[in-house]
């Protein structure tokens, strides 16, 4: 048992940190670090820089651009990226549809799609959830019917993240309504968003921003060859894809970055005779979250090391990463909100350009702008990808044997 990074791992960490600091534009990182959202162009720019250096899809199979890194290296790469406030490569491209095509696609599909996915030449979104289905994915109702060499798709998807910017969507659709189990008879189909019959409606979230969408399919016709994997076995693709979500689910680096920012700003937030940071009560709340985060980081490292040593047999501790990671992320936004105090009240649309001189803002505290929207927005992290209640059900069954 040796719980420190090896010298090679430390060197790799420094290499990653340097790369992100020197190559991803500072204005993009500052914007993300201040709790604002990057726009589409910035996201694409950042991913293309990474891709140029071979850092967009290091976890892919080597033949499609992967780097053959160890789980620990991948972990370090991801944590440093988040810790430096870089936009992560678009997960719908690099962690979802890309790996599915690499694993299930035909050679022609791989050649056609994978380079464009890695370079975000196409922006992808996910067509899984449906209205009224919530966490119950297998109950989906969107249908795809084969007519000659085409699929005709009808139905509705929702919670489609960043669908308003997407060029393509990967859809789970029911292709055999007669199947015995609800998970059977589903297929995984690629749809160009420009196809007639596709309609997108952005949904405003409580942070005031537009991040998810409803997507309607009204007699949408796409080539039969847009099917990935075997017809009616789309559930295999979905399970494979959802299994990939685990690696950076705890978002430890992102929480570190937010806590670092709170520590920095709180020293200059006026309170009484001095600064907010003079309050032991506030400092202890910050430190308490940092301690939980340190424990979670060690948990994550245990999981990563087990992945390296035992491959597919995951460490049971991995099951807590989502719950604890989301609780900590939310706790950091609560601290920022408390820090902003009365000045969190003023609302600025986060899509609006922020004036250079922050003190020109009405409330006089530019950093306070994002406190409430971030807090509001981050309520989602204990809901999406299987709510924390669902996570507990899964752990109860899979780990504790109930």
């Amino acid at each position: 048992m040796d719980l420190r990074f090896t010298p090679e791992e430390v060197a790799f960490r420094d290499q990653m940190r340097t790369f992100f600091r020197e190559n991803i534009p500072a204005d993009i990182r500052n914007r993300l670090g201040s709790g604002r959202h990057v726009n589409k162009e910035e996201w694409v720019e950042s991913q293309r820089i990474m891709n140029r250096h071979g850092y967009a899809v290091p976890h892919w199979p080597v033949e499609y651009g992967g780097r053959g890194w160890s789980p620990i290296q991948l972990y370090i790469y991801n944590e440093e990226m988040m810790s430096e406030n870089c936009p992560t490569p678009l997960p719908f491209n690099t962690h979802m549809v890309g790996p599915v095509i690499a694993a299930f696609g035909t050679e022609a599909q791989k050649a056609q799609y994978l380079p464009r996915i890695a370079n975000i030449d196409d922006w992808w979104c996910q067509g899984f959830s449906e209205p009224g289905a919530g966490s119950d994915l297998a109950s989906l109702k969107t249908k795809a019917v084969r007519e000659g060499e085409e699929w005709v798709i009808n139905g509705q998807k929702t919670w489609t993240t960043l669908g308003q910017w997407a060029d393509w969507i990967f859809v789970l659709a029911r292709t055999n309504p007669e199947a015995r189990k609800p998970q059977e008879g589903i297929s995984f189909i690629l749809v160009d968003m420009k196809t007639p019959g596709v309609t997108v409606r952005p949904i405003q979230l409580i942070d005031g921003d537009y991040e998810v969408n409803e997507v309607w399919f009204d007699d949408v016709r796409v080539p039969y060859g847009n099917l990935v994997g075997t017809e009616n076995r789309g559930w295999d693709c979905a399970k494979f894809l959802l299994g990939n979500e685990r690696s950076n689910i705890a978002r430890i680096g992102a929480s570190k970055a937010r806590l670092r920012r709170i520590r920095e700003i709180a020293r200059s937030v006026p309170a009484g005779d001095g600064a907010l940071w003079d309050s032991e009560a506030f400092r202890h709340k910050v430190a308490a979250v940092e301690i939980e985060l340190k424990a979670l980081e060690m948990t994550q490292l245990r999981v990563v090391a087990a992945e390296r040593d035992h491959g597919n047999k995951p460490n049971p501790a991995s099951s807590i990463l989502k719950i604890k990671g989301s609780e900590i992320q939310q706790a950091t936004t609560e601290l920022a909100l408390q820090m902003a105090g009365p000045f969190a009240l003023a609302y600025h649309d986060s899509n609006e350009e922020i004036p250079e001189g922050r003190n020109d803002l009405p409330d006089g505290f530019g950093w306070a702008d994002t406190a409430a929207p971030e807090y509001f927005n981050y309520r989602k992290v204990s809901i999406y990808g299987g709510s924390n209640e669902i996570q507990r059900n899964i752990i109860a069954k899979a780990v504790l044997g109930f």
Partner: protein, 385 residues
């Protein structure tokens, strides 16, 4: 001891519920109302006036109804339940009580009839950039001149300050220290007086506010509200009344949000059954109920103590109430969103709007740490009434 409304109070409650209850049921219309004019419904405001709500706190001699904290509670609960946008808190509860308690006969005569008929709205320009929650941290100063005073300074986050026609502004008239509770004076000024500039903004919870600068604003001696240098006591008293009012608003919002959540749990189906059949979600709903009832109880306490003659007792009680409300509002708001899932984080459903208002109430007039400190310094709650 009696926790029931009187017949008059019950009638008041019924008419308010009829007025405010359904006014913002349609979120689309609510959004449209926010986007135009003063950000609330002027039509509805005149109905508030018709019902007498805008005259509620004023004495009968001044043309008011002599309503106290319980009557205010009735109104604010309805506003909380109804997600109402009208500036009742800022204009009636805060500015109204400042005038009631501190206004000269001339000021009251000039303002109260217009406030009562809905044509005049007043905002309290007080919080400053450096003050955070310290009520007596006032850097704006008013310098004595031959004709009166000249006010100089910047006010931040003035609730409903964007469209008020008059402002009551706090300024330092003496004392060396910026945080001295003595030496603060309140002045009543026209919002469009020379030297005043306002920058409006919407607030996170869909209401409106303003940052207001006072650059050499001349006011006569007669503009003083309350007593020269003794504005601090007046501010503290009225903010305590305001705390009781937002406690009530929060209870209203939590009541509706809890009911909405119960309804959702009982009707929304997943895996073939109502999600409310899951014991974990039922128990969360029970814990929301507990938090709500504790908040309701403490709001009664707040209403009872808001009129206390003993400022120290009053302060401690209102701070304790605010701590309870903050804790309950955070738990009920966050849990409601969690139980709703995705729909809870959208602007297209009422739960998120309640959650946002409940969140903002937690920092209004002091967060939990701030009020814990006050309760602690006052020696805790054991020996209170």
């Amino acid at each position: 001891m009696d926790f029931e409304y009187s017949d008059e109070q019950r009638m008041l409650k019924d008419s308010i519920d009829r007025l405010i209850g359904p006014a913002y049921d349609d979120l689309g219309k609510r959004k449209a109302t926010q986007a135009q004019g003063p950000g609330f419904s002027e039509e509805l405001w005149s109905k508030y006036a018709e019902l007498g709500l805008t005259a509620l706190p004023f004495s009968e001699e001044d043309g008011g109804f002599g309503g106290g904290p319980v009557e205010t509670m009735v109104v604010m609960e309805a506003i909380g339940r109804g997600l109402a946008l009208e500036p009742y808190l800022a204009s009636i509860v805060i500015a109204g009580n400042l005038l009631r308690l501190g206004g000269t006969a001339g000021q009251r005569e000039a303002c109260i009839p217009k406030i009562a008929d809905g044509s005049l709205r007043v905002a309290f320009a007080h919080v400053e950039r450096q003050a955070r929650y310290d009520l007596f941290d006032v850097g704006t100063h008013a310098k004595k001149t031959d004709h009166g005073y000249t006010i100089e300074g910047d006010k931040s986050v003035v609730l409903s300050g964007d469209s008020a026609q008059k402002l009551i502004v706090s300024a330092r008239t003496s004392s060396a220290s910026r945080r001295d509770h003595h030496g603060i004076t309140l002045f009543l000024v026209d919002a469009d007086a020379p030297g005043i500039s306002r920058r409006d903004f919407p607030t996170q919870d869909g209401q409106r506010g303003a940052a207001i600068s006072f650059a050499g604003v001349d006011v006569p001696e007669s503009a003083i509200v309350g007593t020269l240098d003794h504005g601090g006591e007046l501010i503290a008293h009225v903010i305590d009344i305001a705390i009781a009012a937002v406690c009530s608003e929060a209870v209203g919002a939590m009541t509706s949000l809890h009911a909405l959540t119960l309804d959702y749990l009982k009707t929304r189906k997943q895996f073939g059954v109502p999600i409310g059949s899951f014991q974990v979600l039922q128990h969360k709903a029970v814990d929301m109920f507990t938090a709500l009832e504790q908040a309701r109880s403490m709001t009664y306490f707040a209403a009872m103590m808001a009129t206390s003659d003993d400022p120290r007792e009053r302060r401690r009680a209102l701070s304790a109430a605010k701590v309870q409300i903050n804790n309950s509002a955070k738990f009920v708001g966050e849990t409601a969103v969690q139980l709703h899932g995705g729909i809870g984080v959208t602007m297209e459903y009422r739960a998120g709007h309640y959650f946002k208002r409940l969140t903002m109430i937690q920092s209004l007039f002091g967060d939990t740490d701030h009020h814990m400190r006050i309760v602690d310094h006052a020696g805790g709650m054991l020996e209170t009434v």
